[in-house]
């Protein structure tokens, strides 16, 4: 699947910026940004991306709940979701995968390989679905 547009939901401004640059620079993708889960749901609905990156810990609506709601929405449930998470919450994320996410990436991520890792997760998923 060719990615053109990513929606990144992350409440930490600095990390959002680094991830945005990394995805534009290494992936050549268009990056839409959301500060929290609520914004993420709104932006996904108004301009659906090819993939959604979700930070787990966010104010208002955390990543897990956002993922759950995305997967309940018939018009959004097809968009693959990938969690971005701190190492310490790794086991929690494994539980989060049962919410319908296709994978997770550990923070601190390497901005030089973030785009490639996202592509890999999506390819693996496409093969699995084939």
């Amino acid at each position: 699947m060719a990615i053109r547009k990513v929606l990144l939901a992350e409440d930490e401004e600095d990390i959002r910026k680094v991830a945005q640059i990394s995805l534009q620079f290494r992936g050549g993708w268009e990056v839409a940004l959301a500060n929290n889960g609520e914004e993420c749901l709104a932006k996904a609905a108004s301009d659906p991306p090819d993939v959604i990156l979700l930070d787990c810990m966010m104010p208002k609506l955390d990543g897990y709940e956002t993922c759950r709601r995305l997967k309940l929405d018939p018009s959004l449930r097809h968009i693959p979701v990938i969690f971005l998470t701190a190492k310490a919450q790794e086991t929690e994320v494994k539980k989060g995968l049962s919410l319908g996410a296709v994978g997770y990436l550990i923070k601190p991520f390497n901005p030089m390989s973030l785009a490639a890792e996202i592509s890999q997760i999506l390819e693996r998923q496409a093969e699995g679905n084939a």
């Binding site: 600095d14 990390i15 680094v18 620079f25 310490a88 601190p108 991520f109 901005p111 030089m112």
Partner: protein, 368 residues
């Protein structure tokens, strides 16, 4: 000598003039619960403080094995941690005073300090001497410290992630080709940030372990698989140091109940230590063997060895040995604590000039 000339203490001690047994009274009024067992851990003495605390008459305890006695106290899980430490002592008896603060989930008392030591009183059969002291205040302070470390580490990790990411983008050419001087300085920044992130992760692990919040996700697994995975993750470090890691697993090892990530963390820690201290062109050996009802892993290097006076300190926090290579000083503390959380044990043997072996054992999984 007339009676009136005696000092009050002598009077007190004299069973003819005073029937009260002074020593026994002191024991009974001690703020700590005291238990003496024989070498088989059968209870031979319990003071009144202890009997009051457990709420049962002396005759129910005397002659009973320590673990059986504790298991008879109605507690609904409140004494699980206590049981765990006592079980460890009964399986690996202390050779000197050993002391732990253990959480107990009773209404008022939240922590107990348990001490155990071998007991060799002249004229009495050898055994063990245990005391149980309320340590709620100490435990609470420890808990606050752990919470503080945990919060502080989380707060530090976020900016660290941005710093690391920005450096990596710059080194990766995002701002165009950099002058060699910039590349060198950014390389130093990156190494330093990586070290800080490792330290933060270690501090978080320690605080979780100490506050009892480390959760293990147990599954049946094969220890040899974990050894191979750890070896793969350290392949490049081994190549740089020109050290070969040789795995020597026994065939048909029993499985263990363990948290895969944490077990790999333990093995990786021991291996990376061995790699750091191993001379180049030498081997680091990893043996995996079935011993009694456990699986034993040993990691041996042919490095300089650890001086006997420092051997007892290798598992202490922030103990870096003289001449230690860069590390956080927490790796072995965490590794041993993780093994202990798996109801196992870890120890070290070393000979100066001949190398060091770290061992750990965790119980084999029962049943099929």
């Amino acid at each position: 000598m007339t009676t009136s000339a005696r000092s009050p203490v002598e009077t007190f001690r004299n069973p003819e003039t005073h029937p009260l047994n002074y020593a026994e009274m002191v024991l009974d009024y001690s703020p700590s619960g005291i238990v003496v067992t024989d070498l088989e851990w059968r209870i031979r003495y319990a003071n009144r403080t202890l009997l009051r605390a457990v709420g049962c008459p002396e005759e129910n305890l005397l002659g009973e094995h320590l673990l059986v006695a504790v298991s008879k106290i109605p507690h609904q899980g409140a004494l699980d941690d206590l049981m765990h430490y006592l079980a460890r002592w009964t399986s690996t008896p202390p050779d000197k005073l050993d002391s732990r603060i253990v959480p107990v989930k009773l209404s008022e008392r939240k922590f107990v300090r348990v001490r155990a030591m071998p007991f060799h009183a002249p004229g009495a059969p050898a055994g063990y001497y245990l005391t149980f002291t309320d340590a709620t205040k100490e435990g609470d302070v420890d808990e606050m410290k752990s919470d503080f470390i945990s919060v502080a580490s989380h707060e530090m990790r976020t900016p660290m992630t941005s710093i690391k990411g920005s450096i990596e983008l710059l080194l990766g050419g995002y701002a165009g080709e950099l002058p060699a001087e910039s590349t060198e300085l950014l390389g130093i920044c990156l190494t330093a940030v990586d070290r800080l992130i490792r330290l933060i992760n270690d501090l978080l692990d320690i605080s979780k372990i100490e506050s009892g919040k480390m959760e293990l996700h147990l599954a049946r697994l094969n220890v040899t698989d974990c050894v191979h995975k750890s070896m793969r993750s350290l392949r490049s470090l081994a190549e740089v140091n020109k050290v070969t890691i040789r795995a020597e697993p026994e065939e048909r090892l029993p499985e263990v109940m363990a948290d895969r990530d944490r077990l790999e963390q333990v093995i990786t820690n021991l291996l990376s230590n061995a790699l750091k201290y191993s001379p180049s062109e030498k081997d680091v050996r990893v043996r995996v063997a079935a011993v009694d009802n456990s699986v034993r892993v040993s990691v041996s290097d042919e490095g300089p060895g650890i001086p006997p006076d420092q051997l007892g300190k290798v598992f202490d926090r922030f103990q870096q040995l003289a001449g230690a290579k860069k590390g956080t000083g927490l790796g072995l503390t965490i590794a041993r604590a993780l093994v202990e959380q798996h109801r196992g044990r870890m120890w070290v043997e070393s000979e100066l000039g001949h190398g060091t072996s770290f061992y750990f054992e965790i119980p084999a999984a029962g049943g099929e």
